[in-house]
Amino acid sequence: MAHIPVKEGLPGIRGLVNFRPETGKPLYELAQTLLRTPSTLTEAEREIIATYVSSKNECVFCTMSHAAAARHLLGEDSEIVDKVMENPTNAPISEKLKALIVIAGKVQKGGRIVTDEDIAGARSLGATDMEIHDAVLIAATFSMFNRYVDGLASFTPTDPSTYSEMGKRMAEVGYVPPIQ
């Protein structure tokens, strides 16, 4: 049971945002800007970074829901998501995305361990300043969302079909605050 009274049937961050719409609005705007607005990183690539960070933080709700969104966006290549979570080095993704995932993984542990070499490595594989910025901010943002969701013990569904529906909505509709 969540640590605060959230509306029944609204899992994860959705219940929290409905409890506190004042903060929910900028949180959803941040997610929408980072994960859905036009970018040289695809929506699936950005969802993969979000999923990877959430899995490192062991946030089940965020990992399952963003993995489902990434799978929906990838269509027939959906198994890429599981391969990245298993081991990004061997996953069938671009070398640039691998380098950005290395940076995201460091940000998840602490911003101060990102090195000049990590950044130079990503840049040598074609990452732009904007892509580096966004990879760091996506990783930082999910270090927030994961703590928010788990810190308040929000409801985490266990049925995988719940997440595939959620992922479809996240992929097709984007991030619209569930304020009721």
Binding site: H3, I4, P5, L16, F19, R20, E22, T23, K25, P26, L27, E29, L30, T33, L34, T37, N57, E58, C59, I103, K106, V107, Q108, G110, G111, R112, V114, D116, I119, D129, M130, I132, H133, D134, V136, L137, A139, A140, T141, S143, M144, F145, N146, R147, Y148, V149, D150, G151, L152, A153
Partner: protein, 184 residues
């Protein structure tokens, strides 16, 4: 030097916000709502939580800036923040704040560290909204700290700069443009 090109006279998150205004907008709204909007927690108490988390994450820019804002709002010389960073149980804050700072410290480590017992902060008078906001302030500073340090931004050494920023943010909140910082 920051890992991405930011204006020289904009240390910390300021340069990042100038680089990417599209994400700066919700980030500033979030800070304003959590730290400045009307609440049963005072602005000083909320800045204390932000400073506490930033210090534990060793983010020099955020800890110095929010420490200066807290100092300005609490009207002390920084003694309150130093006391909570020592032994929290002996700190010069209310029992309710001790309980909320304990939760914030757990969130700083991981959301999973927060237990049903720690949420018993309620017995010291915390409301659901105060518990929610404490968790989200702590989580948000785990983001801000990683953003600022992950991109290698510059953090000045001169305490006077933080006092200037602290005074401005304490008085005008997070939606006003940043003042120019003199280059050292």
């Amino acid at each position: 030097m920051a890992h991405i090109p930011v204006p020289e006279n904009m240390p910390g998150i300021r340069g990042l916000m100038a680089f990417r205004p599209e994400t700066a907008h919700p980030l500033n709204l979030l800070a304003e709502q959590l730290l400045q909007a009307p609440s049963t927690l005072s602005k000083g108490e909320r800045e204390l939580i932000a400073t506490y988390v930033s210090r534990r994450n060793h983010c020099k820019y955020c800890a110095s800036t929010h420490g200066a804002i807290a100092k300005h709002l609490l009207g002390d010389a920084g003694t309150t923040i130093e006391s909570v960073l020592g032994n929290l149980q002996d700190a010069a804050v209310s029992d309710k704040m001790k309980a909320l700072l304990t939760i914030a410290g757990q969130v700083q480590i991981s959301g999973k560290e927060v237990t049903t017992e720690s949420v018993a902060a309620r017995k010291h008078g915390s409301t659901d909204i105060e518990i929610h906001d404490t968790v989200l302030i702590a989580a948000a500073f785990c983001m801000f700290n990683r953003y600022v340090d992950g991109l290698g931004t510059y953090a000045p050494d001169d305490q006077n700069i933080y006092d200037m920023i602290g005074k401005q943010r304490a008085q005008t909140g997070y939606l006003t443009p940043p003042m120019p910082i003199p280059l050292s």
